[in-house]
Amino acid sequence: MATVLFRIAICSGLVIWPALAEDASALFRDAIQPVLKQQCLGCHGDGQTLAKLDLRTREGMLRGGERGASIVPGDSARSLLFQAVQGADVLQMPPGGKEKRLPEDLIAAIGKWIDGGAPWSEAAAGRKWDYKEEDLWAFRPLKRPHDPALNVDHFIDEKLRQHGLKPAPRAAGPTLIRRATIDLTGLPPTPEEVEAFLKDTSPDAYPKLIERLLASPRYGERWGRHWLDVVRYADTGGYSNDFERPNAWRYRDYVIRSFNADKPYDQFVREQIAGDEMDANNAEYLIAVGFLRAGPWEHTGMSVEAVTRQMFLDDVTHNTAAVFLGLTLGCARCHDHKFDPIPTRDYYRMQAVFSTTEFARPKVPFLKRENTSDLEAGLARMREIERRTQARIHSFDDRVKHLAPDELEELKLYRKHMQLDKESLDRYQPKAFSVSSGPVDGFTDGGPNLKLPERAKYTAPEVRILANGDIHSPGERVEPGVVSAVARYAGLQPPRIESGIAGRRKALAGWIANPANPLTARVMVNRVWQYHFGKGIAADANNFGKMGGKPTHPELLDWLAAYFTDHGWSVKAVHRAIMLSKAYQRGTRHRENDPGNAWLSYYAPRRVEAEVLRDSILAVAGELSPEGGGPGTFPQINEDVARQPRHAMGSVQPAYRPSPLKRLRNRRTIYTFQQRSLVDPMIEVFNGPSLDMSCERREASTVATQAFALFNGKFVHDMALAFAARLEREAGSRKGRVERAFRLAYGRAPDAEEMRLALAHIEKLTREHLTTPPPPKPERKPLVHEITSELTGENFRFTQQEDPVEYEENLHATDAKPETRAFADLALALLNSNEFVYVY
């Protein structure tokens, strides 16, 4: 509260200075920082750095400009800044004669601040708020029009009228069912589903379609993936070792379950932020807080404990705000947010909420809802791999003290594999990748980790504002809190947060999940809207601040957000509101002047995401495994990449082992093991999400290497052959098979010309395949890696362990008739075609 008393006003250089604070930090906050902003940064920091001087940071002051350092902390007399404001000799700042000179008390304050060590605390409690109303829209309360007749189209049509635009007519049936099915399930509709929909002439055929899709278990797999994009889900920790997070998969399944069950979003928020604090005996809750640890993180012998701990705190603070509030809170880590009303103090207050959060891997029994069917077999396979590695280690036992350097290197390698595999073994155990408030004795966590203090001796760590985000420069102490602008602009009072160990996150979660928090509902409905239309009502899903795109339809965004909270935070209710609108059902043809489809006069076609592409290929080939859930599976990936050696700190990772069984290998992409250091190259090339930074929106750029993956890649060729074999099974004549192929891939029959082209292709290629036998099945060769020893600088070779389980091969060309192989060529063209990869 003291800061309020010290508030100063600066008007045209005149400083009203109520009293000089004793504390140099407070001096900085209340006097120095405002004067820097008003008088100095125009030339030395914001936009230009005259004399190469940047006064925006303490670091910049210390570095100084052409004349040298601006400040010598503790010695104002030797500080150029102090000399300049005094107007000593040639250098006078601010420039422009006596009238521009700062008032004496302020000059004295600068001297005092420097003598006090020039602390750089960026708490802005005393700052002047001068944000433009148009930039504060997201912080303002929702406008809730109480007219039950309102709907999505009301708002869209109004804008169309304003802009004199005529909307495109409704899309045709086949287009609609394909659009809705891919939107809600991430898979193309089957020919039977298309047929049933087209036959249904009842007026509610379309609403029934939406209901069927929303009820499909495939829905959670599709929308869960969107959520995992935003939270950066991965099954490993990244960086040097990329250790497995063996139980993270339970969070992935939790997300899918939550979407399928239409869990109220406020509950979904609370569980992920504070599940363990809500009920430490609730398995689902302990799994849910895996959210907090989703980011990349590693601690090694080369890391400083305090630094890696801070890395986690910064990550969780920034991402919690980005994911739920659409705020770029991380910008306020080193300085007050440059564009939004978020002082650094708020950043550290929110960080203090997480300061008692410790990593935990508690025993959490498997739930009935979880798929445990592969645990036993998976464990047996992993144990056998481990046993073989152990045996290799034991082969050195009798001479371990007298090993030559290259033997030592080999031993080091197997020990590294043991260390990595030890984590993998844990994926079959009933544990959760979780957190606790304060350490819980007896909990361990994988890999090298921070020392967990004893519970009995534990006290909540003190949180201080870190100058420039640097742990070496702790400043003013802060208590746990939330983003203050929400109270200021929306009137939602901050929660009372206990200063004890537990309950901090619960309080934060309650504040975020409050219908009166204007950010939460807006951010979520905007995300949902974006995944349906390809762009949000506000363009930047993770940035609702000044620099993010302003909503094109602000009233619609508010109405939809209010609709969301009024309907029990039901995400499915939002889907219905959107998908039953005329706007969603429009055709893609557009002649009107609506660049970028800003006013939604038509439906903008989109390229499907990488996962949808892979899943669709598997689905039409008849190879998609319907099973889901459980530890991540390992898909067929490019063989060169699979067989390439990969670093693990000081050594080499075990080989990539695709799941030997097709039913695991060919699961939907969301169930594949998400390894930060090894992304399936086909997913990567089709603009897969970053596993390190929150992906608010997928890019869909077209690059040449996509053509390589899809047209030359072995996976697609294998699936094309499986597709051809499926056609052979499901249709008789060539004509019948061509028709089936088009219906499976495109959801429609071929026209006469397409039929003619396809049949000619089959004719021509069958002849070619008759005379050109396929190459024989390749032998599986042992994988020998040659690496340079870190110890000796010499090369040494070792053989990667083979998979103990026999590999269930894909259908090979030698087992297919020439005609089937010709159909595989047709299938390859279909899977590569624009109609297959775009949604209309």
């Binding site: 390190d692 040449a704 010499e794």
Partner: protein, 476 residues
């Protein structure tokens, strides 16, 4: 030299020609849409004007992954001879990594040094060939990294941010300068067989459009993933399938005349197959003379030198073909133990390739227009915890001092800039953080870091993150 890419560009069909020749009959609407899209991509398929005049238009970044020791390569510390095996004195800070705790001892360099060039700069005696080119090199002893962890330090050096996910320097440079050869990626990476720690994020496009991402030409297997069809699929069958695909796509485009992206996607297949045709020629170093290959250490007894030499020679060929940014990665420098053997082998492996590259660039005139950078993610410590009875000395990680050299267009060569203290613990003169180095490298390529910005998620982003200052001493 300047006309070489121009010729190549003429030799390959222009966009317009290709569209007519490929019989797509897209019509003018789609064609203009395609050209408009190219415009929207920022003219990625053509060169763009730099911010200021600069000699260098290409960059070859030689990344020595693992953290080469400055003390044992290009910054000898005789003082360590007298301190050898005495207790290491260092101010302990509150925050120490486990690596740095425990008893530590100064370790002398096991290497001999030779004087090279007009200045008589001291470099490791094993740099036999490289010693012959040091007059064209600017040694920089002032650079300081911020992390002593491999992946974070690599991300920092490559992408400007320790946490990964931001665009790599090659992506920024491609974004800033465009490309000179439409048929090749503008940013190519030549990694070891094993990718560096942190993986492909080291050459990612981050938030920049995917066109700017680094394309690795792999050391083993197909140079570009899936560039060739699977075994048994010949060129003729591939062409027939491609023809069918084009026919299906053409009919589809006719049904969706307003969907502009379709033309770009059709074109991407043509570009892919032009790349498929051109890349083997560019990547084929067999046509180079034996003398050239020998110069790079190719075909010699040292297998690593052969492999690195091939990548360095390929780097020259790529630059010659108009590739904007080539990163060569040569790892294995993480010598915690046996530094005599480990660093010895590394230095022998890079000696000829580096010297060969410098000589080759110079004699072809490419050095004038190419910026060459040699650096690891950090340097090494003057000390070590005692290992295995003190017989297997090595050095740990050190971010405060590191070895760097630069050469080529715009660099003031034949000098040493900056200095480290007498034991090599930290840089003391011309000391600059990585961001200043980034600003300087961009400057040498005609780009101004503060102007080379990209608006992403509500923020103007730049390579240096928050701006930095030019290291003027490095500039000619």
């Amino acid at each position: 030299m300047r006309n070489r890419y121009a010729k190549m560009a003429i030799a390959s069909p222009s966009r317009r020609e290709f569209l007519f020749h490929s019989g797509m009959g897209l019509g003018t609407v789609a064609l203009s849409a395609l050209l408009a899209q190219d415009e929207a991509r920022g003219g990625v398929s053509q060169p763009k004007a730099p911010h200021h005049r600069a000699k260098a238009r290409h960059c070859i970044f030689l990344l020595m992954e693992g953290g080469p020791s400055h003390i044992d390569t290009i910054d000898p510390k005789p003082k360590l001879e007298t301190l050898h095996m005495t207790k290491f004195q260092k101010e302990r800070t509150k925050f120490e990594a486990n690596m740095n705790t425990g008893e530590r001892y100064y370790v002398r360099s096991p290497f001999r040094f030779r004087r090279a060039g007009k200045l008589g700069i001291e470099i490791n005696d094993l740099f036999e060939s490289f010693a012959g080119v040091v007059d064209d090199v600017c040694f920089y002893r002032g650079l300081q990294a911020e992390s002593v962890n491999h992946p974070t330090a690599l991300y920092h050096l490559n992408c400007g941010n320790q946490f990964g996910g931001d665009p790599a320097m090659g992506a920024w440079v491609s974004y800033g300068l465009g490309t000179e050869n439409q048929n090749l990626p503008s940013f190519i990476v030549l990694p070891d067989v094993a990718y560096p720690q942190g993986g492909s994020a080291n050459w990612g496009n981050g938030f920049l459009p995917a066109h700017y991402q680094g394309t690795p030409l792999r050391a083993e297997g197909a140079p570009i993933l899936d560039m060739a069809p699977p075994p048994g699929v010949g060129a003729a069958r591939q062409q027939v399938n491609l023809d069918l695909l084009n026919q299906l796509n053409r009919r589809h485009s006719a049904r969706h005349p307003y969907h502009e992206e379709l033309a770009a996607r059709i074109e991407s297949y043509e570009l892919a197959f032009r790349m498929q045709a051109e890349m083997p020629g560019v990547a084929d170093i067999e046509k180079e003379s034996d003398e050239t290959k020998r110069m790079y250490g190719i075909g010699g007894p040292d297998k690593d030198a052969d492999a690195i030499g091939r990548r360095c020679l390929l780097a020259r060929k790529l630059v010659e073909s108009g590739v904007r940014f080539v990163q060569v990665i040569a790892g294995g420098w993480d010598s915690h133990d046996y530094i005599d053997k480990a660093h010895g082998a590394r230095i022998r492996a890079v000696d000829k390739p580096l010297a060969g590259l410098m000589k080759d660039l110079k004699r072809t005139g490419l050095l004038e227009e190419t910026l060459v950078v040699w650096a690891g993610e950090f340097g090494r410590s003057p000390d070590n915890g005692i290992r295995r009875g003190g017989e297997v000395w090595g050095r740990d990680h050190n971010a405060a001092a590191m070895p760097v050299w630069l050469a080529g267009g715009g660099v003031k060569s034949g000098q040493i800039v900056g200095a480290t203290d007498e034991v090599g613990l930290k840089a003391t003169e011309a000391a600059h953080p990585i961001r200043d180095f980034h600003v300087t490298l961009l400057h040498l390529l005609g780009l101004d870091d503060s102007k080379l910005r990209y608006f992403h998620a509500g923020r103007e982003k730049q390579f240096s993150q928050t701006g930095g200052e030019l290291i003027r001493e490095l500039l000619a």
